[in-house]
């Protein structure tokens, strides 16, 4: 649920990083947090268990500056990926405006990706939200392992599994090395801000730039 304030001319959006456990959602946020200057980002808040796994969520608020007359504020969240934390995932998804699905490129995790993607669609339906109506970006993470001994799923196969018809923009990435993280983030921000502003400003005969 986006909020638009006409007093301070601010738009607040919520973007959620979704995907299977151990896929690199939190690493994406850490990487964004490191890459951005102090003026843009807030504090990264993480609730994790002793084993480094996200227990509840990670949260990173940011101020992207102004587009036209509006100041854009974005809250980034990750969900816990483990299957048993579905109630928590539903909570974090509440009021979401844009989604990044972080898929794990390891061959061994192929089914986890497909399962998690199905779970995302289901959880959104529970909220009465159509998956197709939301801005979604796919990220194929851990591509830095190509060439190593670990078997990776080829990008084309991942597209076939998760992105039939190429409906969603997708990026190969290595969250650990920071590759593809910025591209994914920029894309989802752009799509979300455009979507939210079209939805909220059109009724008032306005656009972002005027």
């Amino acid at each position: 649920m986006a909020i638009i304030s006409f007093r301070s001319d601010e738009i607040h959006c919520k973007i959620v990083y979704y995907g299977p456990g151990r896929g690199g959602k939190t690493t994406n946020l850490i990487s964004i947090h490191k890459a951005l200057g102090h003026q843009v980002r807030g504090e990264l808040l993480s609730i994790d268990t002793a084993g480094d796994r996200t227990l509840f969520f990670d949260f990173l608020p940011m101020d992207l500056g102004t587009i036209g007359k509006f100041r854009i504020k974005i809250s980034l969240y990750t969900v816990p990926g483990q299957v048993r934390y579905n109630d928590t995932r539903k909570l974090v998804l509440k009021g979401v405006d844009g989604i990044v699905f972080v898929a794990d490129s390891l061959e061994a995790r192929r089914n986890n990706n497909i399962e998690s993607f199905g779970n995302l669609i289901e959880n959104l339906q529970d909220q009465g939200k159509a998956f197709d109506a939301l801005p979604v970006v796919l990220q194929y993470n851990k591509r830095d392992l190509s060439g190593s001994k670990v078997a990776l799923i080829p990008i084309e196969e991942m597209e076939k599994d998760l992105n039939t018809g190429g409906r969603y923009p997708s990026f190969a990435a290595s969250a650990l090395k920071g590759e593809g993280v910025r591209e994914t983030f920029k894309k989802v921000c752009m799509m979300t801000v455009i979507d939210v502003s079209a939805r909220l400003l059109k009724d008032r005969g306005m656009s972002l730039t005027g």
């Binding site: 649920m1 909020i3 807030g42 949260f59 608020p61 909570l91 509440k94 009021g95």
Partner: protein, 138 residues
Amino acid sequence: MADLILTKQTLDRIDSILQTLLTRSGAHTVLLIDKAGQLISFQGSMDQEKVASLAALTAANYGATTAIARLFGEEEFTLLFHKGKDENIHFSNVGEEYLMITIFNNNTHLGLVRLEVRRGLEQIEAMFAENLRQWFNS
């Protein structure tokens, strides 16, 4: 959950209700947030960065508590209270979609805070209901 468009008048009105609540209850900070964790309005003394984290954590905390309530056949717990050594936090439901967080120390009493929060949230609920009516009629 619907999007929320806040006009200057609405925000000014919310600010004034929250400000009155602070003065009358003796609390030092009050926030109005939505259940997705986004801040709507904030009055009092608190670091801006902490405010964003507090809003996100409160919404999650409230959601988790609602899930606990359902285990016992309750629809939800409409208020929560955390007591600390010096600081206390009171959380309250505002309508279906919003939460009010009031932070106070030992200079005031829970009873007074609860009374004033009740008064404040009735005013905010009435205002949202009025906005909705106007929107339907427009």
